[in-house]
Structure formats: C-alpha cells, structure tokens
Symmetry: C2
Subunit: 285 residues, 2 copies
C-alpha cells in the first residue's frame, strides 16, 4: 500500500514494500532546551539549519512540533511550518495535539502534508479527522484510545481498525492513514518492544497499511541509547515498519542498511550514494 | 534446543530461545596483518591481550584460527589453543579446515569445545565428524556442499538436514550441531542477506537447531561496514539466530540490545550490567 505526500516540489511515497521513509524529528522542543529557546526567541536560523541538515542526512519528511509552555502554539505552528516548508521541498508533518493549531498551520503550507496525530480517543477522532479530510492530507493514527494503550497486539490492532473505519467513513482513503503501533520504554517493561514487533506483524498482515514508528521512546533511561534505537529500528523494519520518525543524523544510516539487507536496494546503489552525499562537517550534538 | 560447551571452568549454553551467544572472532589472521605477524613471530602477548579483551567485551566462546601461509598449522593451532584456553575459562572454538590440526589441538584443550567447521561436502563430513565424535565436542555445520552454496533457503535447509543426519548416524547428538546458514556480501548480490534471513527462519521452523552467523562477510566492500553489520545482526537475531561469530568490541552491544528488545532480558539487567562492566580504556583498532 502506498501513501503519497508532497511538499513544494517533491513527491514522497511511503510504501509498505519499502524502502523505508524517514520523518526527521528534530524540530521538536520536547526535552530539547536549545530548540525550546529558539522557538521562544524566534531564532529561526537555528530551525532553518536543522531543517536543511536533516534533509542532507536523508529525511524524506520533516516533523514540525512547537509545543513549548508559554508559546502561542496556534500562531507559532503556522509560522514555523511556513518557514520550514518555504526552505525545503519535501512534505511537512504537522505535529500537535491542538486542532486549532493544526487547522491554521495546514492552510499556510503547500502540497499534501501529514498530520501527527490522531488516536482512537473519541475527541481526537472528532477534532482531527475533519481537518485531515478538508485538506485531503494524510494522518498518523496512534494505537491507543480512551482506555489508554492496549497491552496486547490484538488490542492495538482493534484501535487501528477503529481509526481506519472512522477515517474512511469521512471519506479519507485507507492508504492515507498510517498506523503507529506505539512502543513503551523497554527499561520499564522488558516485553514492551517484543509486543510492538508483534503488533507491527499483526497490523501488516491484517490491515496491510503503512506503519510508522518512533525510535527513541524505547530506550528511555538506558545506557547507550543509540545502540538500542539502532537495534529497534532494524528489528521493526524487519517486522514490517515502513516509516520511522527519528533523528536522521544518527539513525538514517541503520535505516538505509536495513533496506539494503532486506533486498530493497539493487546493487547497493542507494546505500552507497547515501554515504557519498553526506555533508563533510560533523552533525551538531 | 540447547548446546552446552565448557572451558576450564565456565559452562556456556547456546540456546535457541536466547540470549544470544557471542563467539569472539579476533584470533584470526585472515586479512589481519598484525595477527598474522604475531602468529609467525610467536608474539603470544598480543594474542593473550586479544583473548582477555574479547572476554571483557562479552565473548562467551573464543574462536582460534591460525591460518597463515608459511605457518605449520598443526603445531600452531595446538600451541595457540593451549595458550588461550589456559588464560580464559570459557570454551574454545577451534577454527580450521585441516583435520590433522583439529585432531591435535582438540587433545590439548580442556572442556567441551566447538569445532568450526564441517559442511555438507563429503570429504569434510568424513574427515571432521569423527574428530567431533571422539571428543564429544560440538560442531558448526556450514550450509554448503560439493555443489557449492545453494541459492535457495530450501537448498540450504537440505544441506543442514544432511549434516545433522550424518552427525547423528555417528552418534553426535543433534543439539551438538549448530547450523551456519551462510551469508554472501550484499554489495555483490542485493538479495543475499534476505535469503539468509529466510534460511534462518526455515531452519528454525523445520529443524529447531541452534543457528550461528558470521557478521562481517555481508558488508564486504561497502562503506560504513559497521552499520551494515549492526543491522544484519539485529535482523538475524530477530529471525532466530542464537549464536554469532563477531568482534565483541564492536558488536556485542547491538547483540545485547537485540536480546533486550526481544524480551530476553528482564528489567534490562543484563544490558545495563554489560555497559557497567566494560573496560574504561578504548578498544584497540
């Protein structure tokens, strides 16, 4: 199944049969003081630099999240999304729990964007899906509902089915709903990642839709988090994830390697070209 | 299924249900000039250092290969195996295509070692299996025969069945045969790794035996080989490999992370303890 998005110029296809699409996650102040300050001080140069750097390191889509306490999210999301989409030619992923902020930002960016996110929660479904439909955008659906995050793969599949059912009832095509099976930190629950891998396999088999995953929650609180994130991405892609939201400077290489090993990169052309194209300067910490 | 080995003191269990066993591969002169010189000059300090360092970084078993042109392998394998097994308490994996060298070395080391390797080739089967049986050792069986490496998972499964059949006929228990499904470099054949992953799944399902994999052939000739090796190990472990022959200084961390993510490490105790226990000095290049 294919989800197509586009930015000012570039068409991006998220494809269940890979290669994997990378959503660059760095324009997000959560736990990032420098980004939080940049947003509060309207230091857009820092944001521009992170946007172009993520593209240079292989991002296919850029996530834009401006959730800082004290910031007017409605105007800030539209402003930052407009700046970023004016700078890069790839699609934007608008990342906010605030329907008013999403509705305003979606009007100022070009192309067909992605909305991050809806869930099986009733209020989310009724607030967010109409915004997705009005713009004919695509949306990430988180496998949780008003009862929280189900503790079984079957429970998360049911939520995914509900989100898709509600979306298609509104006229949003099934291929424009990307399911995020969610992963909790494996340091707190040693079965958390295994459950997510089982959920990926089940959703791929039962629904056939594109599956997105975040690559950093899983390692929270552990030493050498990058290693856990790398292993998790390879395992998730092996299980059937077709889209990852992550830091391309740190993790695009393992994504490219996984595609190569799964037979989606003839003559290793994409893998080799990726390393040849990288900027020569080291990424910022 | 469990394969048990032991060194001077330590019992090691290779278990299809994990956690994954690591065979340290560094005592091997193939493509390693420094090790080749150390062997030719009988610089055993270098070999001792690499033995203890691999154990410190998580090796459960140490491979010993002394294949240098110009060296008398028969006496060298026995000499080096004796030195290494006198220094560490874990089992040794004797690595040689030479039956005479294996037969001599196996007599000077303690415990129950591993022999690397037999294959489906008739001469290998008739030369090597009796040595394994005489010592009640365990053996790695490569999925290739007199016709070469089969191009399909089913073909490699057939060779694995043949090796196990021949071993059990001699009285070697099935659990003492560990199958290596083999992997060719993905730079030359973009389907090579995918085929190995399919072979792992098929052999696990059909035979249930332990599966060993080498982690470095796959990336030959590619840039950023470590990234490809990391992704390949995670994918292989996800598919069912229970033993890897690799460089623990570079790859034990991704093996530990994969075990953690696959639910084999309650409270992440093994993962956290691993990083806490590492030597503070950087590994040698």
């Amino acid at each position: 199944m294919q989800t197509t998005l586009h930015g000012t110029k570039k068409l991006i296809t998220i494809d269940t049969d890979g290669p994997v699409t990378i959503i660059g996650e760095k324009i997000n102040p959560t736990g990032q003081k420098k980004m939080a300050s940049a947003l509060l001080e309207k230091n857009f140069d820092y944001i521009r630099e992170l946007a172009t750097r993520q593209v240079a390191y292989g991002a296919d889509i850029l996530d834009v999240n401006v959730g800082v306490p004290g910031l007017d999210e409605e105007s800030a999301l539209a402003e930052v999304a407009q700046i970023v989409s004016g700078l890069v030619d790839i699609p934007i992923c608008l990342d906010s729990p605030n329907p008013a902020a999403l509705a305003r930002a979606i009007d100022v960016i070009p192309g067909k964007p992605l909305i991050n996110s809806v869930s099986g929660e009733e209020k989310k479904l009724s607030d967010i899906l109409p915004i997705v439909k009005a713009r004919e955008a695509a949306v990430i659906g988180l496998a949780m509902d008003d009862d929280g995050i189900p503790a079984t793969a079957e429970g998360r599949l049911k939520v995914a089915e509900k989100i898709i059912e509600r979306a298609t009832r509104l006229g949003i095509p099934q291929e424009d709903v990307i399911i995020d099976p969610l992963v909790l930190t494996v340091g707190a629950d040693s079965k958390a990642a295994e459950l997510t891998l089982a959920t990926i396999r089940l959703i791929r088999e039962q629904l056939g839709v594109n599956i997105n995953l975040g690559a950093s929650n899983v390692s929270f609180g552990l030493p050498e988090r990058l290693t856990v994130n790398q292993a998790f991405l390879a395992l998730s892609i092996g299980a059937g994830a077709s889209c990852v939201i992550s830091d391309p400077m740190k993790l695009a290489n393992i994504v490219r390697a996984s595609d190569l090993l799964l037979g989606r990169d003839e003559y290793a052309i994409r893998y080799i070209r990726y390393f040849r194209s990288l900027p020569k300067d080291p990424p910022p910490s």
